[in-house]
């Protein structure tokens, strides 16, 4: 009965523990992706499919790509080939791979049965969120756009001083 919630919650906690305790940054990124996927499953089980999709697209997609870029640009001391070989040993990716397969299977199993009329989930879909977002909270959307613009300008400024350094 409670297999799916227990499984996704446990995957989230295991992934988060591995993120905190992992010594290598790339492995921590892999476990963080597992955490975000299973957390998306938790959000879908709470009836928030829109938030779950955004969690996968923005968090596990965009923000994790940022982390991977930065980790690739850091630690340029050793030759790249040795570093990649050391990162991609099976012992490194077999754990996150197995956890991600479990999370993906859970998503594939759980999502088609999500909109059952007799289920206990009352979904709040993207239409309700959009009506509330651009009706009641339209000022907050403007403020969020200010925040994103400020982040963009700050990142651009820091990168510009980085590039102009001899």
């Amino acid at each position: 009965m409670y297999v799916l919630p227990l499984l996704s919650g446990g995957l989230t906690l295991v992934g988060a523990m591995m993120v905190v305790t992992c010594p290598v940054a790339v492995h921590a990124v892999l476990y963080l992706v597992v955490t975000l996927l299973s957390l998306a499953m938790v959000l879908a089980m709470l009836g928030a499919q829109f938030a779950a999709a955004l969690e996968i697209i923005i968090y596990a997609g965009a923000i994790m790509v940022l982390f991977v870029f930065v980790i690739m640009m850091l630690n340029l001391g050793q030759p790249d080939r040795d570093r990649e070989k050391e990162w991609l040993r099976p012992r490194a990716w077999i754990g996150p791979g197995l956890l991600a397969v479990v999370a993906c299977g859970e998503l594939l199993y759980g999502l088609p049965t999500l909109s059952d009329p007799d289920g206990a989930v009352f979904p709040i879909d993207a239409r309700d969120v959009g009506l509330s977002l651009f009706g009641t909270y339209v000022l907050m959307v403007e403020l969020a756009s200010f925040l994103l613009l400020a982040g963009l300008v700050t990142a651009f400024h820091i990168g510009r001083t980085l590039r102009e350094r001899p």
Binding site: M1, Y2, L4, P5, S8, G9, T12, L13, A16, V19, V20, A25, A28, V29, L32, T35, L36, V42, L43, M45, L46, G47, A48, A51, L54, I58, Y59, I63, L66, F67, F69, V70, M73, L74, G110, L114, D116, G119, A120, F122, I124, D128, V129, L131, S132, L133, Y137, M140, A144, L147, L148, A150, G151, L152, A155, I158, G159, T161, L162, R165
Partner: protein, 103 residues
């Protein structure tokens, strides 16, 4: 599909927040501190979505969207600062070596 219970969601969010807080306090690598901050933000967003599902209100997901925008800008600026520190010849990413402004 079984629904996720509200109390379980609160418990999961509290545990996630504790793990993220422990990561920020224990780890000294700046990249790991940013990842732990993301875990903490995710826990906060989970509480908002769970409360929105509990009281059948879309405002929880609106706040989740705001937290998403906050996390995106925070991660971008933090990673840009890490790259800047690394390009200025700092040998390690230890956060304790950066406690002086002109150090």
């Amino acid at each position: 599909m079984t629904a996720f219970p509200f109390n379980a969601a609160l418990l999961l969010a509290a545990l996630l927040f504790s793990i993220g807080l422990a990561g920020v306090l224990v780890r000294r690598n700046l990249v790991f501190m940013l990842m732990s901050l993301d875990i903490m933000l995710n826990a906060a967003g989970l509480v908002f979505v769970a409360a929105g599902a509990r009281w059948q209100d879309a405002s929880g997901q609106v706040m989740f969207l705001m937290i998403l925008a906050l996390a995106a800008s925070e991660t971008a600026v933090g990673l840009a600062i890490i790259l800047c520190l690394h390009a200025h010849g700092r040998p390690s990413l230890d956060a304790d070596t950066g406690n002086l402004l002109r150090g």
